[in-house]
């Protein structure tokens, strides 16, 4: 294990910082281009709650001052960027005095938990299946999985989510329809709560796994076909190594490398897909938070959620890129 080449590190870091900065800037600019005035929305909400609002002009001015939108744009922008660095996106307008960061911090563990769980499952199952599709010693049954994997990959998780939800939650009632844990269970580190979470998380995770494993399996299949013909595999076979050992240490070990890069490119789409799955399952994660915020026109929350998800994506890509030289030593030589 050597160290990461400096040029490579700097290159990746610049990309990371630029990604976050550009995304944050786009998110900031878009609402400023819109003709909708957030202060008027807030006033409208007050009026809807109270029937009528007196002194609306003064309240509007006060709201604008509170939101900071009466200041020059450059001041607003700098404030926003420095706030975004410490995850300060102001207060939610729908759940009023609650800071956006609190809402996000409550939702984030659910999303991350679901994401990591389903990612690990699909990555392992998909790559193993893809490898077995090519391996000549694997049972015939595995080859049947090729067309199935292909068909499933083409479908976004929201469709598989709807289907699974209908069959297993609405029809058979084996699993709960919505939510991340039972409303009768007190959240905490108790066994019943963990059980409830796993029980509720099963269907959302399954709907992601079902449609993503094929992507890895097919990619792995293509790579394994290439690796199969390599001289070092022939040599290993000639040496009389155990077929299973050749499969894991010679073939999969080499074929999996480009899969990890594919992972970095795919992660954005995966997260976006998961947000939608969370929305249809009303899972307590970022997806539900985002959907509720859209319904309530809660702009600070929409901004915050989008920013945090983009941040997670960019950080994951960065981490994969950083880990890559450790997994594939050839990269280090190229950089030098």
């Amino acid at each position: 294990m050597g160290r990461i080449p400096r040029d490579y590190l700097i290159n990746r870091l610049v990309t990371l910082v630029l990604t976050i900065l550009i995304a944050a800037t786009i998110i900031w600019i878009i609402p400023r281009l819109s003709p909708v005035d957030p202060a008027e929305i807030a006033l409208g909400r007050m009026a809807a709650g109270a029937g009528s609002v007196a002194n609306s002009e003064e309240i509007l001015a006060q709201l604008r001052a509170n939101m900071g939108i009466d200041q020059p744009l450059i001041v607003q922008y700098l404030k926003y960027i420095s706030g975004a660095l410490v995850f300060d996106f102001g207060l939610s307008t729908a759940a009023f005095p609650t800071p956006v960061s609190t809402l996000i911090m409550n939702a984030l563990p659910w999303t991350l938990g679901l994401m990591i769980l389903s990612l690990i499952i699909t990555f392992v199952i998909g790559n193993l299946l893809g490898a077995l599709m090519v391996w000549d010693r694997s049972p015939k049954l595995v080859k049947v999985a090729i067309p199935a994997a292909m068909v499933f990959t083409s479908i976004p998780p929201i469709l598989s989510g709807l289907l699974l939800m209908w069959i297993f939650a609405a029809k058979l009632q084996w699993f709960p329809l919505t939510g991340a844990y039972s409303i009768f269970v007190e959240p905490g580190w108790t066994w019943t709560f963990v059980q409830s979470v796993l029980y509720h998380g099963f269907l959302p995770a399954l709907s992601i796994v079902v449609v993503t494993f094929g992507f890895w399996a097919l990619g792995m299949r293509g790579l394994m076909i290439t690796v199969q013909g390599e001289d070092y595999v022939k040599l290993a076979e000639a040496k009389g190594l155990k077929p299973r050992y050749i499969l894991y240490r010679y073939m999969i070990r080499n074929a999996i490398l480009p899969q990890i890069t594919a992972f970095a490119l795919k992660i954005g789409l995966l997260i976006a897909g998961q947000v939608l799955v969370e929305r249809i399952f009303a899972y307590n994660g970022m997806g539900k938070l985002l959907y509720d915020a859209i319904l309530n026109q809660d702009f600070p929350v929409i901004q915050g959620v989008s920013y945090v998800i983009i941040l997670i994506t960019a950080l994951s890509v960065f981490l994969v890129d950083l880990l890559y030289p450790f997994i594939d030593p050839r990269i280090r030589h190229e950089a030098n």
């Binding site: 610049v14 990309t15 630029l18 990604t19 550009i22 995304a23 786009i26 998110i27 878009i30 609402p31 281009l33 819109s34 909708v36 292909m150 068909v151 990959t153 083409s154 479908i155 976004p156 929201i158 469709l159 709807l162 289907l163 939800m165 209908w166 939650a169 609405a170 029809k171 329809l177 076909i225 490119l265 954005g268 789409l269 997260i271 976006a272 897909g273 947000v275 939608l276 929305r279 249809i280 985002l290 959907y291 915020a293 859209i294 319904l295 026109q297 702009f299 929409i302 901004q303 959620v305 989008s306 998800i309 983009i310 994506t313 960019a314 890509v317």
Partner: protein, 310 residues
């Protein structure tokens, strides 16, 4: 006596003959034909449906509520009627009319966004690969940065700030996020092609940059361009459907995603109104599988080695 005795060729021989024919013309690829067939089916549904079906039934309240498809019964004991062969939704809209209008709309967004994204990608990819230097640096970093940002999240911010959008507007917005992969792909191809003999020959004989780009290099890129185009269509439709399911996107134009959104919101899953969300879901699946088959077929066309494998 079996029927095989009368047939001069055995099955294996017929298959062999077919394979040879297929080898002669790579475009007669069964996957490609099936995929294109599925998508054409959706387009035909949109065209023929407009003539034979009353499209006023897409308006709310134009039909009875929550009727099931023909041959099924809903929870209230009503059975399907011939006037609404695949049922109606909770707002009193005929589902057949909804999909006749909605399915082509969904496909249209995907194709338009992808077409624009590809054009940007071709332009930027060629510029980066061919010109190199500072231009290349800027385009490469730009594509690297933008490929990390999930389009859905930016578009959510955009549409919740601006409210209602038209189909074309949505396609334009999505196009802003599907140019990165074609750019990277074309740049890489152009970089490797620049070293090849025929391009250097053209350069030596004094061909203009435009001539080299479009007459010498472009024809060799066509299979890649097609593949990339189909992949972008899939990404665009996934993004569009994602926005629609979050309740964004065009508010007054029927699309498959919006129909699903309304079905979920009305609790169609609990009320067992499976046709309301199921039929749009099925059509979307048909679109995605069609695109996938086209992509696999194109892979085989451009990479003859894959043809032997299957």
């Amino acid at each position: 006596m079996t029927s095989q005795d009368n047939v001069p060729l055995t099955r294996a021989q017929i298959r062999q003959a077919k394979r040879i024919k297929r080898f002669d013309n790579p475009w007669m690829n069964p996957k490609l034909i099936w995929g294109a067939g599925l998508l054409l089916g959706i387009i035909f549904l949109g065209i023929i449906g407009r003539f034979i079906w009353d499209l006023d039934l897409v308006f709310t309240g134009s039909s009875p509520l929550k009727l099931p498809p023909l041959g099924f019964e809903n929870l209230r004991g009503q059975s399907g009627v011939i006037d609404h062969p695949i049922g109606t939704d909770g707002g009193g809209r005929d589902l057949l009319a909804l999909i006749i209008v909605g399915a082509p709309n969904t496909l249209f967004v995907g194709l338009l966004a992808s077409f624009i994204g590809m054009s940007i990608g071709i332009f930027l990819g060629f510029s980066a690969g061919f010109l190199g230097g500072r231009t290349d640096d800027v385009i490469r970093v730009g594509a690297d940065v933008m490929i990390t940002i999930p389009p859905l999240l930016i578009l959510v911010v955009f549409q919740s700030a601006f409210g209602d959008v038209t189909l074309t507007m949505m396609a334009l917005l999505i196009a802003g996020f599907v140019w990165q992969s074609p750019t990277r792909l074309i740049r890489a191809q152009v970089l490797s092609m620049k070293q090849s003999g025929y391009v250097q020959m053209a350069q030596l004989s004094g061909a203009s940059t435009g001539h080299i780009m479009f007459r010498e290099m472009m024809p060799n890129l066509v299979p890649y361009l097609f593949g990339s185009f189909i992949a972008s269509v899939t990404t665009s439709i996934v993004t569009a459907v994602g926005l629609e399911v979050l309740g964004l996107g065009p508010q007054r134009i029927p699309t498959l995603g919006r129909t699903i959104y309304e079905a979920i919101n009305a609790g169609a899953l609990i009320q067992n109104l499976w046709w309301w969300w199921g039929i749009p879901t099925l059509l979307l699946a048909v679109i995605f599988i069609g695109l996938l088959l086209i992509n696999l077929g194109l892979d085989e066309v451009s990479n003859p080695r894959l043809r032997k494998l299957s």
